[in-house]
Symmetry: C2
Subunit: 156 residues, 2 copies
């Protein structure tokens, strides 16, 4: 039993998003989060390269289950350069999602820690994110505290 | 009286941040928002140029009172490129502040509308920001609605 559990853990690799991940169910995974139509390989590559131009200032990480070759968790962080805080930087975590079939394995925590560590290593004085009140306990377990409220204006 | 009021309005010019704005009290203004030490012209220029590399994806706007040559309001927006929402974009408004001596002239509203218009023109499907519960009525007047909660983790 322990061996079997270890095997599962061993097969879950965390890494940065790669341009071939459209074939590994990345977009289908995002669809569990919000509205997200299928994206052609061409459009995927175009957006991937736009983001890649930011280098380490925009990092998307994924967890791949190498047994199935499927992406089962993802999240992103981008680094905002500010003038406040003595020309400080702030990390913004966005679009964190774990596949419904892979819940209960702390994959969300691994993703958030990876992204927060990235922001820290980039010299950010803080990392922030917006979530529902329902997800607050999860982020508290990741070391976050509630601070403000999020306001939104939709254009479509 | 009306003429005088018009003159005040006419002297308040909204525009993008310029590299010479360190001399016009830009950093002193930010200090009304949060921790912000003085910044040397060299450091200011360096950060200005880092942000300028993002082009229209990171826009900082200011209102200058051309009578005094002082920056009296500012705010920023950056454009996040996503895969969700069919490779959509989201605008993030940050660091909105109006000089304490220039309140009551709707300058905050002008700043927020300028930034939201910029995000819209860049093709964003939404623009978001985080604020205190106290500032919620102001942002509601700007057309925003409360959605989620903000969580933060500080590294310093």
């Amino acid at each position: 039993m322990m061996q079997s559990e270890n095997s599962v853990e061993d097969s879950l690799h965390i890494r940065k998003l790669e341009v071939t991940d459209n074939e590994k169910g990345f977009i289908e995974l995002l669809r569990q989060l919000t509205v997200c139509d299928s994206v052609s390989d061409e459009k995927f590559k175009e957006r991937f390269e736009e983001i890649a131009k930011y280098g380490d200032d925009h990092c998307i990480c994924v967890i791949e289950d190498v047994r199935s070759g499927k992406i089962v968790a993802t999240g992103s962080v981008f680094i905002e350069k500010k003038f406040v805080r003595n020309c400080g930087k702030a990390g913004h975590i966005e679009d964190v999602v774990v596949d419904s079939s892979a819940r209960g394995m702390q994959l969300g925590k691994r993703i958030v820690e990876y992204l927060a560590d990235h922001a820290h290593s980039m010299g950010c004085y803080k990392v922030i994110l917006d979530c529902t009140e329902e997800n607050r306990p999860f982020y508290e377990k990741c070391g976050f505290k509630k601070k403000e409220i999020q306001m939104v204006k939709y254009f479509v």
